[in-house]
Subunit: 252 residues, 6 copies
């Protein structure tokens, strides 16, 4: 069920407490020379809706929150960011409305790396405020890491931002928004284990680089390896893996 | 220009400082038995885009902020609200990103009554933080009060929430989302000058009612008077009046 | 009843829950070359006390809060301002004390334009914290707009700050504090519908000018048209209109 | 000079940087069965004005801030309190306005015990924000401890709240506000060195009692020993001692 | 160099900007029936000091911050926790002092899982405030994951809290503090990929359990497999791996 | 009982509600040329533990909080300070954990002058949050003022920071940490009653000096008069006087 299609009496009749409330979290930020500012929002929305349409009875899907925490992208114009602390407060507030609807299970489905830390912080705050509410946070690439690994062609370093995967997904979902001829490899040069950079490589340390410190184009990774077909494979794998979690979550 | 269609280098080339940055502000809240939760967001988005498409060279239009301040609607499930103080902080943060892009003129185009007070508060905060940035706030019904008055059929009391105007606008813009058979007149009963209620009546006093204290259905006003044709007349008048302001603002 | 004349056992015996608690809100800020810093506080105090003395049994009148939100006047020395957010918190705190006394009806009677937005924000916060407490906010010039319109001689543009009305009121109430020979017309020059400026003209848009950006003297309006007799007419009209509301409020 | 009598151009001509800006800080709270809610504000205002009138050239005296931090009195109706943290923010804000006027020396002259801790906190915050501004805080009874000791008749325990001194001062300053026949001795019973209670006894420990936990009437001390003549002696001593400090401060 | 052994002139002579400032972050919380409340602080302090003593010229080591974010342990008495938001503010404040000393590289060496999210949030805040300061966060078990994997005997599920590793480390470092006879296996029962629990298993999702919801004893993992010798192997591996990072960090 | 030696089941068995919970509060800041950064923490820890070891059945002693409010020392490198407002929040948070353990009496035993104001503020906040919890704050030198007076040799001016007393105490407790040859008299030069400076002289006014404004070495007072024997006399007196209070507190 998409919440946005309903009236309030219809929501009232839904038995929200028996649904998994899926809240997709995107961003609005630079995505290199070739992808639009909406990339993360576009992708996470598509994933959420594909999942919702497969489990309409189980899921109540919220509209995607397009403002994200993108402070590290602010050097590149077009980025609209909410700083970390007010972003935590924003999502916490919206989740209070969800709790008030009677929800028992909330799934924060994330589509933007910068949201990771503040959304984990939100989960802790909500646990204190609503001890009985189960709030689960996941980024789609974490749930789908195996299928992504199976699909990517690039070595470590190829998946980051406006990269092989994001570009492929956009070629699959919104080809008209991709300026493929402007796609360029870019990103941090360091290859040591502490600084090498890839969505699927978990650094043993954590630090923050502003994007313009490590990328001239705003891209990190290998968008040149992207294709629409690969995008379909990524998308199908991601959707399947998110669905798998939703089905499991429904049994908790 | 719609910001969401651009890449960051395209934004960089725009000369944002010479544009009017239009930021449409909506909400996600109950709209009676017959209108969807997205009503305010749908309408303000349509207005903003109509205006943008007439002045593409002058305007940089942001995506509509669908989370609004709707605490007074929270009794009705489906409403997603950001409380007043974090809403102020949210919009302030997003406007910082706009300022960072080099904007000189920002137009906060509002589509939801509950946003009125916190957005005025935002304007004050931004003035202190960015003394050179001109930020103007207006709700579309304030800019278009004459044309709305000319179009409405209802007496005072007919325009409020999910009312003659909003229902007509939705019948014009998104007829498939309107359950016209469920539309019912509702709203506060008091007729004294201090409490009578209408979008076009400026009460001499200010107080807050939670919506469920004054309306059983969530509606305030006379949606039964709505029609698609009237919606078109409203919409054309509103668009023209907002455009008129934009053209004036461009000369400041 | 003036709260300041009582001891706590006398307050306890009052049945505060049956009174209208009137809280006058002033400011301490520049008022041009000819009026004192206390102008808004002086006027709203006089109004509140006139009203209280006519309805001693119905009203419990608090001392006037002289610190106001006057950030837009800070360029002119002598102004003592509380920024918007701490001002909201201040009034909210004081209203908590009122709620603790057992009040059921609070009337925030405002005498300073800069307090308008933050006081509306306070009303919302108090509604959430004390759902049963009725808090009404009004500026005296809103309640008395008709009688003010009938009395003023100036065209639109004449009523603003240290203007025809405020100067007249001070000539009536505190003639010794007025340096009439220094009174000068001043204020914004723009005559378009969006920017023309008058206390009785509701602009369709909202923006913030620091006062020194639009007035050299700190005055906006036509103080040269002021007189003590006119001040008496203004004052009597305002008092009558505020009383009319109080009598109505008592019946809610 | 009393700031409240001036216009902004007069303030501008004052050379505020060469003045001692005196900011009297009062409260609005229960003072037993026999004294009015304004007691602390009345007394500190009288002291400040006596001092100002003796050193008009040296002093710029602000209006007394009547809202104080009186949370410990809230059980007794009539009390209007600002909680500790927003009180700190309030005074800090007002002092920013003073700094903006160009002040170099600010004297926070306190008349209410409950303000002591938050005002010291304010001094620290101001030092960080305005390193060159000298802000001195003192309660009048600290500056005048010797003369108070010489005047009081009560043993330790007699001076607290609505006590021998405060009642005497009010009999001297505002006899019409004192209901002497209702004055009763009251206050904590403990006589050990850690808990015995007197304005002139510095406990080696600090703890907070709500007033109703230690006094039935709201009084702490011996108001029965009060007289108007004693009030004059207290007042003259206090004024002299505060003046002495002001003269010294002027040389720093 | 241990900061705590120095006087300020000695710090001044150190050239802090050429050091790696190591800030060990511990906690004070329940560690099952057999380990003391200081466990995390004891271990991270021992690691930090071992590392410092091997690189005295390169490192300036701060005292361990024993208050940690342990809200999820508060059900078990003895736990002293700082909530997430004030914990972020606390560490941020202390890092401001480090920045003021002239540091260029700060290493937040963490010893408590609950600190992970708020410390990552701190890193982001510090990057905005001190763009030139390099702040790296790492938990010791992340830096040493390979050597830990090589040493542990337990399957997934054995390493969590008061577990095989922590108990072994304490048996090695502070055997007198371990009540080995009270050590019991405990922890969540779920074995699905989303909920299985181990320090070395990265769940694809994130959620918060209060510890008492998943463990009766406060232990998660297999402390019964612990031994002092194993503790030495763990410790030497951890120390070596942290040193390896420090040496690398020194070259950045 | 030292909390740090316990497991949580041992804490549970303690009957915390019947104990006095002693929370020692130190700092980490410059102490002149001759004393280490840990001086305040070292001293207050030694006092707390001596007291605890004499009353093991009555006392539950927490670890010393080494981060203190030392903003006034930040000019001198090595100082690690928490600003006033977050320090209040920090201690408040930790005391919430104490309240959750079931405590009825908390003794905040302070060893650093800069903590005085914020800790008093904490006491007020805790009283509002936990009306039944008795929280007492005292600095050791206040409880022991008579014995300190009897032991010191210096005139007023000799006791301040890194002074006769603190240096003597460190010579007694940690002689290896004292560089006695570098001890120098230093401190403010003013001798007027408002500014003369000594731990045992209560100024009638309050203001803040950054330490570097009044001391070149960071010392205030006469460390040259220090000796280990005098340190023992100070320490025994302090311990006895703190114990005396603890015994009294136990009877409340």
């Amino acid at each position: 069920m998409l919440l946005e299609n309903l009236t309030w009496p219809e929501v009232k009749n839904l038995k929200v407490s028996e649904k998994i409330v899926v809240f997709p979290l995107g961003s609005f930020e630079q995505h290199g020379h070739h992808l639009p500012l909406t990339t993360d929002t576009d992708i996470v929305t598509a994933v959420a809706r594909a999942v919702e349409s497969s489990r309409q009875d189980k899921i109540l899907c919220l509209p995607t929150l397009w403002p994200g925490h993108s402070t590290h992208h602010l050097f590149f114009p077009g980025t609209l960011s909410v700083s970390q602390m007010p972003y935590i407060e924003l999502v916490r507030n919206l989740c209070r409305s969800i709790a008030k609807m009677g929800a028992s299970k909330v799934f924060l489905l994330n589509g933007h790396g910068g949201n990771d830390v503040p959304l984990r912080a939100v989960v802790r705050e909500l646990k204190s405020e609503f001890p009985k509410l189960t709030v689960v946070f996941a980024s789609y690439w974490s749930l789908a890491s195996d299928s992504i690994k199976a699909t990517r062609e690039s070595e470590l370093g190829g998946l980051g931002h406006a990269c092989e995967m994001e570009t492929s997904l956009m070629l699959h979902l919104h080809p008209e928004k991709v300026k493929m001829n402007l796609a360029r490899r870019d990103g941090p040069k360091h290859e040591d284990q502490y600084r090498k950079s890839d969505m699927q490589y978990g650094r043993p340390i954590y630090f923050v680089n502003e994007f313009h410190e490590v990328s001239e184009t705003g891209t990190i990774g290998h968008p040149d390896l992207a294709s629409a077909e690969k995008g379909k494979t990524f998308f199908d794998g991601i959707t399947r893996d998110v669905l798998k979690f939703v089905d499991e979550f429904a049994t908790w």
